[in-house]
Symmetry: C2
Subunit: 222 residues, 2 copies
């Protein structure tokens, strides 16, 4: 009985994710779902992404957090349309749900957007299990977290098509090793596209922006 | 109907947590539940804790991970009895459950132990919601995660009686500020006991060990 109910809830979420995906296809609008541990630097990398692309692309951001509106405020300052989703009214959910994303999209000027970014709740486990209608799942992983994390949280790395390795400016002060990170990410998901950068200093950031521009263009050209 | 079922599952878990608590009381054995984001340094701090206390106390560790046995291996090398719990067979659960802890305790030489440490799955959200029979919940937070995390993940900091701020050796290279961390932790939970240290260098570690010794002793003296 329990299994049936869980299945029903998942079917409801998948149906909404399907609606989101249809809308994005109709609009030729590319969308990414950005996921990571708390503190891997998702918001800082979004700030820089928006700041560097704002002249070329109109960007909408759905900011997922359990509580607070800090992140939407930070992103809006950089020139994107940002909507905060707090999961606290949804029982403090540890991930974005398709229903929450759909409500947030109703608050965004969807007609104007070239790129939609969904920033998930900081959590390296649960968000990987939920489809929210995105084109690509992106996992952000900071070098400070230790090079073994891809092995310990494999589902997140398996479900993602892109891995962003952040905080490489701290490499000289850490025991984590970039070569080991690459090997561990590759062993869990050999197909994943990886970019290594510091969202703080900007080192290595251009390649990620170019990849994103390419994806936006490809979707627009259908 | 869904609410009833969830309630039943929680009641089942709470009943087992109650059994664990009774056993710990009977044995006068102090137990902590250590929680954090992935990569905050739980295992490194446990390695040092075990290494520095191993002559005085006999320590048992329940290591929670979704997959891999790396952590139990690391801890056992320092001289503790360590049992790995993988949540993958339990559906990849993002937290330890009381049932898993009880199974792991059956593998430990409980008669000999002076201290029981449960290292939870790396996750700053879900583990805070589950009682596993511990005396104290301990949240580990690394300075690299950003000083706003206590505000964004308040439940974890509210449920914990101790906050360990780790990786203070990296402070010179980070924008995060220890004074802001203290203020944010205090605003969410004014009653929490905080220790600041680097588990890597050992700076500030003695105060945490003294606190732990005191708790072990207090429980033994009943």
């Amino acid at each position: 009985m329990e299994i049936k109910l869980v299945k029903k809830v998942l079917e409801y979420h998948d149906a909404i994710a399907g609606e989101i995906r249809e809308e994005l296809t109709r609009r030729k609008l590319y969308a990414i779902n950005i996921m990571s541990s708390p503190g891997a630097g998702k918001t800082t990398l979004l700030e820089r992404t928006v700041r560097e692309l704002v002249g070329e692309l109109t960007i909408g951001v759905v900011e997922g957090d359990i509580t607070t509106t800090n992140d939407a405020d930070r992103i809006a300052k950089q020139g994107a349309y940002a909507v905060q989703v707090n999961t606290e009214p949804f029982g403090g959910d540890c991930h974005l749900g398709a229903n929450m994303v759909q409500s947030a999209m109703a608050e965004l000027p969807m007609d104007k957007l070239d790129l939609l970014i969904m920033e998930n709740v900081g959590n390296l486990v649960c968000p990987a299990e939920f489809d929210i209608g995105e084109d690509d799942k992106v996992v952000v992983f900071s070098l400070t977290e230790g090079d073994d994390k891809p092995l310990k949280y494999p589902l997140m790395f398996r479900e993602s098509s892109v891995c962003l390795v952040n905080k490489i400016d701290l490499a000289p002060y850490l025991d984590s090793d970039l070569a080991t990170v690459r090997r561990n990410v590759g062993s869990v998901n050999p197909e994943i596209t990886t970019f290594e950068f510091s969202a703080k200093t900007g080192e290595g950031f251009a390649a990620w922006l170019d990849w994103l521009r390419g994806k936006v263009k490809a979707k627009q050209q259908g």
